[in-house]
């Protein structure tokens, strides 16, 4: 009873926050509602007993991804009116992606997953160990491939955005440390009444 009640509570919160993500006028508020949505999905994962997946979702998406979103969005100077105008253009694309994801969910839940498998996964004592058992054995190739995809994305982002500007002065710590007193200061002996001779 308690579990079912909390499920509906968190699911309702999740959907509400998702709606607010889309319809907030201010992009910073959108990102903050997105954080709330992530948090609610964490709660949903914990409710079905997948506490490892839930907390990893929280660490990765709330602790890192959403902060970077917020970081970028806070620095943008966005005209709210143009933003609202642009949303209409993306509706067909959004519907397409929503349709694909819905089809995937239906395919997975109806045809692919056997109820018994899911139940044993949830009822088992420690799902951290279960994930650890299969991640590097059964799903080794998939795991490495996803790593390579992320690496490519990272290198791509750096290549696209990094511009080397030779005018910027940079600190070269090695050359600073290897400098000796002889490189910087020259002691000159001056005889009285002669002044410094230029050599």
């Amino acid at each position: 009873m308690f579990l079912v009640g909390s499920f509906f509570l968190f699911a309702a919160f999740l959907i509400t926050t998702c709606i607010f993500v889309i319809f907030s006028k201010n992009p910073v508020n959108s990102v903050l509602f997105l954080v709330l949505a992530f948090l609610n999905s964490t709660f949903l994962f914990i409710l079905i007993g997948a506490e490892f997946v839930g907390i990893i979702l929280a660490i990765v998406y709330i602790g890192a991804v959403a902060i970077l979103f917020l970081f970028v969005v806070m620095m943008l100077d966005i005209q709210i009116t143009t933003l609202m105008f642009n949303i209409k253009r993306y509706i067909p694309l959004a519907l397409l992606f929503a349709g694909i994801i819905l089809a995937e969910i239906i395919y997975l839940t109806v045809f692919k997953t056997s109820k018994e498998n899911l139940d044993t996964f949830i009822r088992s004592k420690n799902n951290t160990e279960q994930i650890g058992d299969v991640l590097y054995t059964e799903y080794f190739i998939d795991f490495q491939l996803s790593g390579i995809v992320l690496l490519l994305a990272m290198i791509g982002a750096i290549v696209l955005t990094h511009v080397y500007r030779p005018t910027i002065k940079r600190q070269n710590i090695e050359s600073q440390n290897s400098t000796t007193a002889q490189d910087r200061v020259k002691l000159v002996k001056i005889n009285s009444g002669e002044g410094i001779k230029d050599d």
Binding site: L32, E51, F52, A58, I59, I62, G63, A64, I67, F71
Partner: protein
Amino acid sequence: MTSLSFELTIGILKIFSFVVPVLVSVALLVYLERKVLGAVQLRKGPNVVGPFGILQSFADVLKLLTKENLLPSSSNKFLFIFAPMLTLILSLIAWAVIPISSTYVIANINIGILYLFAVSSFGVYGVIIAGWASNSKYPFLGALRSAAQMISYEVSIGFVIITVLICVGSLNLIDIVESQKNMWFAIPLLPMFVIFIISALAETNRLPFDLPEDEATLVAGFFTEYSSISFGLFFLAEYANMILMSSLTVILFLGGWYPPIDIFPLNAIPGIFWFVIKVFLILFVFLWVRATFPRYRYDQLMRLGWKIFLPFTLIWVVITSAFLFYFGLLPN
């Protein structure tokens, strides 16, 4: 029904048994900090309010409470008030999983260390929301610095935690402490211990990494616009976070509630005593560092985090796991 309400009462009492000592020790920690700084700089420190000035922090809190709480007219009012509350809540809910003895803990969950890591990584939201909601330049710069800094150092903290977890084979905090019964992890993992303490300084925005509130360049950083008790909440949260990170260091590296050597007069003393004394020592290191080192420049901070700590911890994870694997020392 009575058993449910009984358990609820016990639970609430347990929560108070953590929160009240934490808040009192925050006050005493502020006093200790001023005394230590005074001693290092050959001053007396607070010595007027109460015996040895020990009531100074309580007097400061009373002063803060009676001041007017100012709301900047162009700020985002809701988020401006919400940010300090969020910061304090996050620094207190983490105590739910901290075990102070082998039996005394509010929630003994399987993934305790991940929960702590998650909560400490949420801490940046309080700072970044405060900086943005103030709608002012200095707080905004402080918030940006804080976001970049905390994410950078979380990476190396994550790798340090992974190294410890490889040696333990469990994510449960009580298991982590109990596997250190014979040898504290600070000895075999000494470099990781040092890196963890330095990253904890950066994660709690303490000197020499307090760039988010750098008073020399940013007035007061992300809480420039805050006054009265909303400033007090940030202050409270910063020190509560220090105590939390110290406890985490003790749990991960200094053997939690175990005495240094397992012989008679030492192991007869209750574990809570050892836990508290170790936390106190780490906190003293925090204050000592503050009195000793100058503040880092921002590019130096980023260089240390990404170019030194990240490669070093990454290699150390590989070395540790290879060592454990080839000598057959892997847990389970």
